[in-house]
Assembly symmetry: C2
Homo-oligomer: 414 residues x 2
């Protein structure tokens, strides 16, 4: 069954509601793909007794206990003191740790001060672990049958020590179980349908299938363990790709805007946008990507009808009836922005994001998309569900997905 | 010292890294302002033994243990079984819980099925708590000196039961310590300077001061406890406002875009934007606000020089030299968008967000802002620090803050 590993995170802010604990997920995401599993995670405030109690409890139940936070030179850094109490050992100045602190300070051009000594006060028989990204060193202690590893709570310092100190220690205790993960990013299918399609697919039964919704996207995680994990994971991924088809927009951590940017750059296509209900969100997502200026010419965020007229050339007739939220208007916007900007593609969105503005014939969630290309114009009406934020997010993702599908289909035609 | 309260959250996904635990912060944020404090929070996977062990441990150390997750009709819902094991009681069908399940299902127009019975299998002597927002009822158990409350893990169901079941139970055990919180939202001062200014201010010494950075903003939280909490909190807030002046853009959960939208609506001012390096982010933040069409006329996201020329009328001379990232260009963009859109205000941003595009004279982070108003144009150069995301976020917030300050100064002049 491998090692029983537990985590203890320390900090008042974790229990007061002021801060979300992110260390548990960070450390779990470090351990899981390396074949180790967290068995429990405990958070306590900066309180010597509560820290000591938690250390004793976790020590009784686990082979390894990882502790983060509360190292350092200030008075609310109580971890070393609590550990001394839990393990009934005296605190004493650790000479090796002290020289680690002094070396780090000097390498940063700083002078060691008296209060830095506190950073080297460890329970007896502790082994200092240094700190490649900060000053206060971590340390390790063996107590009864359990290995305790104490790390700083600052995320960058912790990250550096997971790789440099935790992993080597775990590997000497027990080799991680081989594990392979594959992730697929999906747009355009609700979670239930993704699940259904994968149930109908021929996935190896040993492969664990997990789902995660990050609206409006769904991610599938395929996890294989054991000696042939690589082979099983590859097989599962191939079957899942077959079952989900072009709803999969990317693998791993792929983001839709990055996929779209890469496609436009790879095909040397330029794009201009005309956004009404998305209010600049499509442009702002695409310009997240460094180098977006190579494919994005401009976006007209056209709330006022005057703007639709003068910037996009939408005819007054259309704006009067059927109005700014209509198939006709979306099409005129897409054609207009493409003509004005002289780009290969013109994408337009107009709709009613809510909460106000809906009517019986055009309820909140009514959104028209239009894509003008060298091959013609395509325009479609959608009814998106949910609040303003969800309607806008669906509109943005659908627009980006249209571009992705257009460029891919063009590729196939060639 | 009040009640010792602990939380146990249950779910494989919390320990595998697939999901961030959000319940701890949610429940802490529910308890803290009501005068209760969480003493520890534990997460374990869907494993009967690990759940039972955690229940026993937390029961020994706390007056109240809140448990979330693992209630329901499927095979990985193990909480009731684990509780029976921990408390050495048999599982039996709770008739009251069963009729709660049946009533809920009927009120939703659904027929009770055989598997729904599992939802009413509780350890003996458990008291069912219903579930106003779902089907599987929560329950409570007294074991030795400790009160255990079991709630569903679905956020909406949990929320409903915190107010309906947890709070009344806590209040009968111990009245919450009176507590008053005040929060101030700040832009334009780094955390260290906010701290310095408050150290120099005349805040009541009993009031706890906390800081939280949510880049590019800083929030200050003032917490007063005890009989005169309200008075102390008001006093502290007044002093903090005096010390921080107009760097405070709002109170409580105020968001800068909402503050700006309210000011524009309140003063019946219209706005148009010309965005280059922010790529539509200012528009998309302002159009988060329902009803933004009443003040936002349009935003031109003008990446290409052609767009700056044709939409904003930026002269070719300027685009050639000093170029698109210059004080002159920013000013021409602001004046141009204000003239084109015929709005009261025109805000323009142009800069180098990075990582590429920097030069010795205009390094990454160089951003020019310009605001054209009926009272004239103001343009300024900034050097923002950090990566692309940070430079863009600082540019957006600075732009919004300029509008806020302009409208406020106008108000004072009247």
């Amino acid at each position: 069954m491998g090692l029983a590993i537990a985590l203890l995170t320390i900090g008042n802010e974790l229990l007061s509601g002021d801060r979300q604990d992110t260390h548990t997920q960070r450390i779990a995401n470090f351990l899981t793909p390396r074949g180790y599993r967290l068995q429990s995670s405990v958070s306590v405030p900066d309180d010597e007794n509560l820290i000591a109690e938690a250390l004793t409890y976790l020590g009784e139940k686990n082979h390894v206990v990882v502790v983060t936070g509360g190292l350092g030179g200030t008075s609310d850094d109580l971890t070393a003191r609590a550990a001394a109490k839990a393990f009934r050992r005296r605190l004493s100045l650790n000479e090796e740790a002290l020289s680690q602190v002094r070396d780090r300070l000097r390498s940063m051009g700083r002078e060691p001060q008296a209060y830095h000594e506190k950073m080297a006060l460890f329970p007896q028989k502790a082994g200092p672990l240094g700190n490649p990204a900060g000053v206060a060193p971590g340390f390790q202690i063996r107590w009864q049958e359990t290995e305790f590893l104490f790390f700083p709570g600052v995320p960058a310092e912790l990250e550096a020590m997971l790789l440099g100190a935790l992993l080597p220690r775990l590997q000497t205790l027990h080799p991680g179980e081989p594990i392979e993960e594959r992730r697929l990013q999906i747009f355009g299918l609700p979670e239930s349908q993704v699940e259904q399609k994968l149930e109908g697919a021929d996935l190896p039964s040993e492969v664990e299938v997990g789902f995660r919704v990050h609206h409006p996207f769904v991610a599938v995680k395929l996890t294989a363990r054991g000696g042939d994990a690589m082979y099983q994971a590859d097989l599962a991924e191939a079957e899942a790709l077959k079952a989900l088809g072009d709803r999969v927009y990317g693998r791993g951590d792929a983001r839709l805007q990055q996929v779209v940017a890469d496609l436009l750059l790879g095909h040397e296509l330029t794009l201009a946008l005309a956004e009404s209900c998305t209010g600049g969100m499509i442009a702002s997502q695409l310009t997240d990507i460094p180098g977006a200026s190579a494919f994005l010419d401009r976006s007209g965020v056209v709330y006022a009808n005057r703007a639709k007229r003068s910037w996009l050339g939408v005819p007054d007739d259309i704006l009067r009836s059927p109005g700014a939220v209509s198939k006709e208007c979306a099409q005129a916007m897409a054609v207009g922005i493409r003509r004005t900007a002289q780009t290969d593609l013109g994408l337009a969105v107009t709709g009613i994001a809510g909460p106000g503005g809906g009517t019986t014939r055009k309820p909140v969630g009514t959104v028209f998309l239009s894509l003008a290309t060298p091959d013609g114009v395509r325009t479609k009406e959608y009814q998106f569900k949910g609040d303003r934020e969800k309607v806008r997010a669906m509109s943005v993702a659908t627009g980006l997905d249209w571009i992705r599908r257009y460029v891919l289909s063009r590729q196939c035609d060639l």
